[in-house]
């Protein structure tokens, strides 16, 4: 598709000149992804601005989950998943052999569609990853525990039951715990795959407000089926569509522009709810 604007148009001039590679900047360059012989993403060139919320929208099966899973190399875990092209994080290729994938994933956190707390206590859910990342100091652990639980608005709800199994929390609480768990590692980027999809409208609103509040400190990529949500919280929007079973980036740009003056007919149709 020719409507994809060149990279330089998108990288905001506010950030670009001062620091060459702002913290948390991600770019994919001609990224294609295959599961076995089946190609699900074709030549995606998507810059993701630092310190902004980028929404990824598009119909089911167009490869949104696959795309964000490449950004923290979670696709490494999927047998016979292969990618070509490059993913640059702060200017360097995350697939380069010298990259420490553990450090990469510490800096790029991920939230899944279904809340995935580990089957042990609330406290251990947050402290155990900290310990594994070398933060052994108990005091620091408890400080971070409280800070992140406050950040996600969970502290008052769980402060008396920190030793209880995290699976006893409600779905919305579990999702916020997962966000807290990711925040505790002090990442620069948060990848969120439909974080509100499994939640009721009230919890969904709570999580959405939380995401909007997190924007100040993190680069956020959020996959969502909820166009209204994308419109409300995101700064930039990327629209994907699958053609011949292959996901392609159709259009991307500032959220306002994509929603109000889409360049591509597909985008316009999808956004006005005619298709998808």
């Amino acid at each position: 598709m020719s409507t994809v604007p060149p990279l330089t148009d998108f990288v905001s001039t506010k950030i670009a000149p001062a620091k060459k590679q702002p913290v948390g900047l991600i770019e994919t360059k001609n990224l294609s992804l295959f599961y076995g012989l089946k190609q699900v993403l074709q030549s995606v060139c998507l810059p993701i601005e630092a310190g902004k919320i980028t929404a990824i929208v598009g119909p089911s099966g167009c490869g949104k989950t696959s795309l964000i899973s490449t950004l923290n190399r979670l696709t490494d875990l999927i047998p016979d998943c292969r990618i070509s092209g490059r993913v640059l994080f702060e200017g360097s290729d995350i697939h380069a052999p010298e990259v420490d994938v553990i450090q990469l994933r510490r800096r790029i956190g991920m939230i899944f569609q279904n809340p995935a707390p580990f089957p042990f206590s609330i406290k251990k859910n947050i402290c155990f990853p900290l310990r594994e990342h070398g933060i052994k100091d108990r005091k620091e652990q408890t400080e971070r525990l409280e800070t992140v639980l406050r950040d996600v608005g969970l502290w008052d709800e769980v402060k008396d039951r920190l030793t209880q199994n995290a699976l006893t929390l409600s779905g919305g609480q579990q999702q916020r715990l997962c966000i807290a768990r990711a925040l505790a590692l002090k990442p620069q980027v948060l990848l969120m795959d439909e974080p509100c999809a499994a939640l009721d409208p009230l919890s969904s609103a709570v999580v959405e407000d939380l995401i909007a509040a997190l924007k100040e400190h993190y680069t956020i990529v959020i996959v969502t089926h909820n166009l209204a949500q994308a419109k409300r919280i995101s700064d930039a929007t990327a629209f994907f569509w699958s053609q011949n079973g292959m996901g392609r980036l159709i259009e991307q740009g500032g959220t306002k522009q994509v929603f109000e003056a889409p360049q591509n007919a597909l985008t316009a149709a999808y956004i006005s709810g005619v298709r998808g």
Binding site: L77, P129, H133, A182
Partner: protein, 283 residues
Amino acid sequence: MNRLAPAKNEGFAGFVLWSVAAFIVAVFAWLMADILIHGAAQISWDFLSTAPEKAGRRGGILPILVSTLLIMGVCLLAALPIALGTAILLAEFTPEKSAFGRMVRRALDVLAGVPSIVFGLFGNAFFSVYLGLGFSILSGGLTLACMILPLLIRTLEAGLRANPARDRLAAAALGLSYGASLRHILLPGAAPALLAGLLLGGGRAIAETAALVYTSGYVDRMPGSLLDSGRALSVHIFDLSMNVPGGDQNAYASALVLIVLLFIVNVTTAGIVSRWRKTGLAI
């Protein structure tokens, strides 16, 4: 009422089901009662703390208890790490449908069904003769380990595979190393399976006779080391009831001890594994 049971046509089928269940319970109760009635009278501190006399007709079973526990100890110490390693290899690093995986699994399933006497002969040929361990607690324990390995591996593998994929992804996404998620998430998740495997395997091992006759032998003296021959409880019971006229009383008493031992093994394994599930494996 069980809501899943069909309401109609329950008459005959229900009768058959209930009679089968009642029959099984009755046989079990009869067995326990028989052992209790004949065995309980002999049980005393003396019985547990003295050596057998007159081929076991008189005296106690202390050396036999010690040998039994040593054989079990050797068996579990040898079997557990191998089972863990193999199960992890099979469940985590071998695609389910790969030729290698299928071959290993098939072989294990065949081995699990091999009669224990075959393991006894193998253990005798390999541990006792080839490795020169002779009739000893060590070769008995190792033979039992071989015998329960297939079962342990298969149950553990199934337990590991049953871990939800989302836990693995969530762990990886937090930058946890594979070892960390294995120790804290995947293995505790497989704990119920490990428990089941240990109970089945441990139960089979502690009650084993045929495999031990050829490997740890008959000697009913107190073992001085793992290289001494030692008589296991089940071998003792077998010997008393088959070869020693007038040994029935002590055979019953030994059987009662064996059953209590099985019970203790069950309860402690359940306890350990449930603790482990709560806290994660601290290595």
